[in-house]
Amino acid sequence: MLPIDAAAHSSRWRRRHPVDKAVLGFGLTALALCLPPWPGAALVALTALAVLLGPAGVPGRRLWRACRVPLGFCVTGAATLLVQVAGPEGFLSLADDGPARAGEVLLRTSAASLGVLLFAFTTPMSDLLPRLVRAGVPAPVVDVALVTYRMSFLLLDSVRRVREAQAARLGHTTRAAAWRSLASLGATAFVRAFGRAARLQDGLAGRGYDGALRVLVPEAGVSGRFACGSVALLGSVTALTFVLEGPLT
């Protein structure tokens, strides 16, 4: 299944209130964006990594696998900062401050990503989505998101099985076959999704489904101590950044 999702459901911090984890995770992400990249983002990245691998208990291998994805984009994007267009040395030339800018962007992205991953790796959607109503998101939108979440897994599973069945009948051997397979895969996914919705409708009718998907939110309290600790941690990272900024630059 989806590794981050699976990890979140068995996370050590599963029982913590999402607000606890949001303060810490998104706080780190905000700092990554707002503090000067050097040494701020570097400190944020180190802190986030320490929390993720330490108290939050996220396995390093899983974390690395999740990080690889955005890294591809970042490296491509940052690489473009290395060159400049129409400078004095020709149409394309190396930019003087290119490496520095690219480095800064990479640092900032990594740090910001780790902050969000701290939240994502410890907070399953089942704890987050129903609570969004209290945060002011209209209930119908949350309901739709809930169904989207649940059905995405069913649909991904179907798509996986259909692809395998297509491969078994050599559906990916030639380019023409691959197109034929992909098109029917897309159409099948569509038909499946709406067939599922219709049957779910029948399945839920008996329990009083009227368009609203009411569910009980798991009991968890916002921990004052955890929040204070998080704020203190964020504060120290900020302070340390300003202390170190002078000597390091």
Binding site: P70, A95, T109, V144, Y149, V159, R163, A187, Q201
Partner: protein, 232 residues
């Protein structure tokens, strides 16, 4: 894990592989944009998303059963964007799904469904990000669907055959998405010498030009899918 690999043209066997092993996803990554830009794109997207949320809420109030159908549409959008698209040139990418989504579900709905999809991609797959959600939503959930839908309607009005309109609609949705992404990056990272336009050239040649064959692919896929859907 050793599923029979994609590279030999055979089926993927875990969802993980279906999703991400094959090729990069062109969402702007977490923290890539400076704070001011992140906020500005969020503000720019907000009215469209609010408009979409209003029409979704109205739809659900009038037709309570549509909650599940909209959820199914969201799941379909999510899964479609996870498929691997064979390109005419041999490189590969995922379809944006915004053109097909806009034609099937209309742009205001896509603003919401697209944003939900982006949120899930950010939190479940680490594709894109929360700070860049506004920027990504602007390109993928707003400009793409509207551009694709507008062209589709225009072509239909002037008598173009259904499938031609579908092709150009999906093509335009895909390409406009990546043009906007390039522009967003160019605005955030202007070239030291030639400024915004130079940067647009750089990012455009990476994110938009390489996308032209992929946009053709997405157009073709959308036509094939639509043809099957119309048939059945």
């Amino acid at each position: 894990m050793s599923p029979v690999s994609q590279e030999t043209g055979q089926g993927a066997s875990t969802i993980h592989e279906v999703l991400e092993r094959v090729c990069p996803v062109m969402h702007i990554a977490e923290g890539f944009l400076p704070p001011a830009h992140a906020v500005a794109w969020g503000v720019a997207s907000a009215p469209f998303i609010v408009h979409g949320v209003r029409s979704l809420t109205r739809e659900v109030r009038e037709h309570p059963e549509s909650t599940l159908l909209l959820g199914a549409s969201g799941a379909f959008t999510f899964v479609l964007s996870a498929l691997k698209l064979p390109s005419v040139t041999g490189s590969c990418s995922h379809p944006t799904g915004t053109g097909l989504g806009a034609i099937l579900f209309r742009p205001p709905m896509m603003a919401v469904l697209g944003t939900i999809t982006l949120l899930f991609q950010a939190l479940l797959l680490a594709h894109g990000g929360l700070t860049t959600l506004g920027a990504n939503a602007f390109s993928m959930a707003i400009v793409g669907p509207w551009a694709g839908y507008a062209l589709y309607r225009l072509l239909r009005r002037y008598g173009a055959p259904l499938m031609a309109a579908v092709f150009f609609g999906a093509f335009a949705a895909d390409l406009s998405t990546y043009c906007v992404t390039s522009a967003q990056l160019a605005l955030a990272f202007p070239d030291p010498v030639s400024g915004f336009w130079g940067a647009l050239g750089k990012f455009g040649s990476i994110f938009a030009l390489t996308q032209i064959p992929l946009a053709v692919s997405e157009g073709l896929l959308t036509v094939f899918v639509m043809r099957l859907l119309v048939q059945s």
